[in-house]
Symmetry: D2
Subunit: 383 residues, 4 copies
């Protein structure tokens, strides 16, 4: 990389959560400068957010349309190299389309789209554009998740039989969306979030994490949705049985009403020879269990790990890395790809970041689960 990349952001103004995470992830490795943004659907709020961020006021825009237009007028090298989209689900696709069709690379928060149709459309736009499109399924950025994938690929687990993936949270146990909590408000609103709350918001992470580690493809789902909090319009808890192609079976759940759980994504993968276990809240450890040998605890930062894990590690073992570093790994890889594209080269073959394809699969998963749930939790083929 010859120069730092210049980034813009849509969304992520004051009160937002994930926008701040994206900004930290961008900064962490010193390869990206945030220089522009349309941080809110309120022009005033966008302006104030830009001030908070010490940005040049000329590059803080009242809306994304203006941002596209005005950035396009700047010379290459000064204009943004890519935009990060961190708005509610409903607007991902129109915003992404606007930037892609004007030759900007895009990093977009998940889930990809409002629904599967939109997702498929966007996929075409991305393919046509030749630009980089990265989706921040950030949990695949953790080094020990990459190690897990390597173990599966190297055959350490044998043939995969079963996957148990859980994503319990408890923050929506009360109807805080009615009390003005913005994060809750849009996630539980079908007009902003789409047809699902818990599955769209966190179930997609569970699905993506599973696919990343195992390469298993879902064949059928039986999904039970429940809305435990009265008056809420979308499900806040979803339990699923899964049939993978090839015969593996799965249990997957996502919950926003599991009181006392913080962000307890975890996965266990069972094969004929060994199994593995990883917990997002203790991300530096990967547990591998055998039938007839002691358990192993693989820990981030050690020399015995695969290159796949090592290249996403900044500091030595015992100096824990965590959520923000995992998130930054997505940006690191996206930046490497963007830098290549800017320089007229293809996206590196060894790139390791989630793409529009992951987003489409995620939306397919949401659509299938929603469909199963609507029919009373019946087995439904992946759409």
């Amino acid at each position: 990389m010859k120069r730092k990349l210049k980034a813009g952001m849509v969304g992520g103004g004051r009160d937002a959560f994930i926008g701040a995470v994206h900004r930290i992830a961008m900064r962490l490795d010193g390869k990206i400068d945030l220089v522009a943004g349309a941080f809110s659907s309120s022009a005033e709020k966008s302006r104030l957010s830009g001030e908070d961020l010490l940005l040049d006021p000329d590059r803080v825009y009242p809306n994304y349309q203006t941002m596209v237009e005005r950035e396009l007028k700047l010379p290459i090298g000064e204009r943004i190299d890519f935009v990060s989209i961190v708005t509610p689900n409903r607007t991902h696709v129109p915003i992404a389309r606007a930037f892609l069709e004007n030759s900007f690379n895009v990093v977009c928060d998940k889930p990809l789209a409002f629904n599967l149709e939109e997702a498929l459309e966007l996929q075409k736009v991305v393919e046509k554009s030749g630009k980089v499109f990265a989706l921040t399924h950030n949990y695949t950025g953790y080094p020990m998740v990459k190690e897990a994938r390597e173990l599966v690929r190297k055959g350490e687990l044998g043939t995969l039989l079963k996957v148990v993936v859980e994503y319990p949270q408890g923050w929506l146990i009360k109807p805080i969306e009615e009390e003005g909590q913005k994060q809750a408000a849009w996630r539980t609103n079908p007009e902003e979030a789409g047809a699902s709350s818990s599955v769209g918001d966190i179930g997609t992470h569970a699905e993506n994490l599973t696919r990343y580690i195992t390469d298993l493809e879902i064949d059928e789902i039986c999904a039970e949705f429940t809305t435990f909090v009265k008056g809420r319009m979308l499900e806040d808890d979803a339990n699923m049985l899964v049939r993978y192609k090839g015969g593996a079976k799965g249990v997957l759940y996502a919950s926003q009403i599991s009181v006392g759980e913080e962000n307890n994504l975890s996965i266990r993968v069972y094969g004929t020879k060994a199994s593995l276990e990883w917990h997002q809240e203790e991300p530096n450890d990967l547990i591998v269990k055998y039938s007839e040998a002691p358990r192993r605890i693989l820990r981030r930062g050690n020399g015995y790990l695969s290159d796949a894990a090592k290249r996403f590690t900044r500091i030595p073992a015992g100096h824990p890395e965590a959520f923000l570093e995992g998130f930054a790994n997505i940006y690191l890889e996206a930046a490497r790809a963007i830098d290549a594209v800017i320089n007229g080269q293809p996206i590196p073959l060894d790139s390791d970041f989630p793409t529009v394809k992951d987003g489409v699969e995620g939306m397919r998963f949401v659509a299938t689960a929603v469909s199963s749930a609507k029919e009373g939790a019946v087995w439904t083929k992946m759409k």
Copy 2:
């Protein structure tokens, strides 16, 4: 108790697993002496097993029928006060019936019966007999499980919303039943075990543990059974979604092919106010989680626990108790009840041990799960 109880045993000869566990559990508290037995369907093996146990050869019988007949001829006080049945599932009911109908109290290993019909019949026999019938769903004997039940009953969790109960084991990942492993042989043989392997053997523990802690009643089950090991006649893995009466939801699974898992029964119960978590492999801890307060770790042996937990504790906190002590707690309570019945008193109202009712519910659960699975994992009302 004025004198030690005298116990007999059917099953549990050389090579058996659970018989030895029952014998340790009997002995632990010094209230029961094993004095007689028919330890095997092979008379010779029964005799040798009696020798191993340093028993009087006159009271080591070639089969249970002889045992009933010969023990009856001994005067009360010398004859056994109760029998422990630790044979494969198929024979539980006929043996139990034989003893109950001859006025012996019974402790029986789980699951109760070969099928639901048999279980219901036995329930009638028990009721008619006026004798004690205890079923060794031993996991409910753990003090911290009792504490968990107390927390639920006292309303500490609020209204219950969700239960996740898991019982993964890995010991049947290979067809060891074909290599003469006896434990595996009968558990995977429908003629010995009944219509289910994993659900009958360990799923029933998961169901019983959930019911014990929560008092929730299952309304419907959607059960996916898989036989991963080729040639095996019964399922070795079962994943279920559960609907409880009153609206709570559940995930329950039992697996014998989860490589590297030993005996990892665990339960998480989520309510509107708090949730709890307990792991059988670390049984002295009970974790309670709140939305807006620090997590608590309740530990066996402490003064702050409920009487329900305290009365099943032998040694101080930090001196861990485990599986055998939990198992012995079932015997302690069964012995107290048997002692009452022997002395012409009713079974104490505060008795805390699993009964034939638990056994019937367990068989109902197995039958429902089997039925759901046979139809392709469809929702099935509890039989």
Copy 3:
């Protein structure tokens, strides 16, 4: 073993703690029957304790002297084969001597004696007697402690460099000895306990555990004693630096005022090639750490363990065993030795239980620590 051994007990009446533990440990494996006792220095209390235990009143004695005398009059085979001594430290030696000199085998609680001189005397008595003398340093009975020793012996750790052994408890944070708590009263009374409280009571376990696992011999100690609770006559906290012969170094501490700690004995042993870590409160796991390989968790009950660990395991992996089973392992081995001696054979060479030698070493350790502490925590050669 052709018949069960007959045991007597001195001490362990109502209100005692460790007596009850010894009785459970005796019973667990069905090889020992408790048939006689002098359970208290109060004849009345001894009688009542015998009643609680459903013993023949004729064999419940008012004091140990009478017990020796009367048991001697019974024929061999009916009289006790051994006595368990579970009284306060002060009386261990006179009682043990009385039984040994009358040809009874002895199991004795730790620490061995009131002081080092007494211990050395008793050692001579034991040697002269030709009888079995077992000391219940029960923590060495845990299977994973035995595995730890095997790993050291096999060279898995390389040359040993450092040992950190910790034994924090918190139960004496308040002067409960002044409120009639019997356990506290004698342990903090120099006339009952000897020259040390925390080191005598639990520090000796730490020392014994270290020596058992590592075979290291202490060369010098620098011991800082503190009495944190006002008015207490003995130290309730002791921190030590240790120099082992051969150059290894150590940290050892014992504390009774570490609030919130239950019985948190733990040990870490560091060698040139690997290190190990074991926690008494989670006794089924042994952690082994390497420089350049993943950590291993060895778990009780697995086939990959050494025979040394396997032969002290009753139930499969994942069915946790704990304190009482570890304690019972001392009795199992003592019983095997006693059975041999009774049958005119030598004590088996592969016997694995703590002996009078361990007791002498423990008293030497206490004496050295006390001496160091009295001089203001100066380096003091092992006495």
Copy 4:
């Protein structure tokens, strides 16, 4: 803050470890831009490191003297606002002095100085300068460490009795300093590191962490130093007993040869009412233990924590933060103070970062420990 601060760096070129950490910590919150540096004692290496960092070559200097001189010529606002010193110990003081005496603020890696005398001199220079001097005892930047301090200050633990603080690492088990490992080479070289290796490098963190949480002052130390690796010139393992003013006692150790340990700094503080426990490798949890109440696990990011912890938290509970975020918290506070000083205001009273005073105390601790060790591990008053 009206504008981002401009930072320079001395040290931290290619192959360095801690320089990269400082750079990430600087960047994380978007308040600091690194614009200049003298990254190596080799001018060529400094130049290449500047290139790696995409810096303006004009501001990459061959040595720190040139850097001071040239930066001074730039107008305020363009010149660096502060310098980060990340060189080996020997050069901290001369470099810091050069910048302070030319009106630059300083952030310096620990330990403060080559020896105590130098440290005391530097303290005077800092005081005279009126500039900010921050020392990166980064472990005090962790939110749960701040919570621990709050608990102590609020009296939750009662009167403090005992502190156990441990810092085992294993990376120096082999003489890797002889194989060209740069990190090892200077840390084990008395001409670069000073009179101590393990105590200077990590023991000072243990001392600082203890003082930060407890406010206890050391009165006397008894320190046993060992050099386990042949040919090494400084100790690679140090065990200490500590007497604090007021009567509390302590155990403190630092080790570089504890094989398999990564960076396992941990602390336990025992008071009359409660105790706390924190492990750097799992930094999001703080365990609080009580005599007669359940243990509590306090977790970063929750609303029930103190403001002291909350203001150093970026993302919600369950989204773990770790080493780099803790380190960045030191920079956040240093930046706030520097910004104040630049704007002619006093350093904020609520500033929470380690200062030159911490550095002096650390060097006093090292000097005392070294002195104790040299005399054969005798009790030595704090210098």
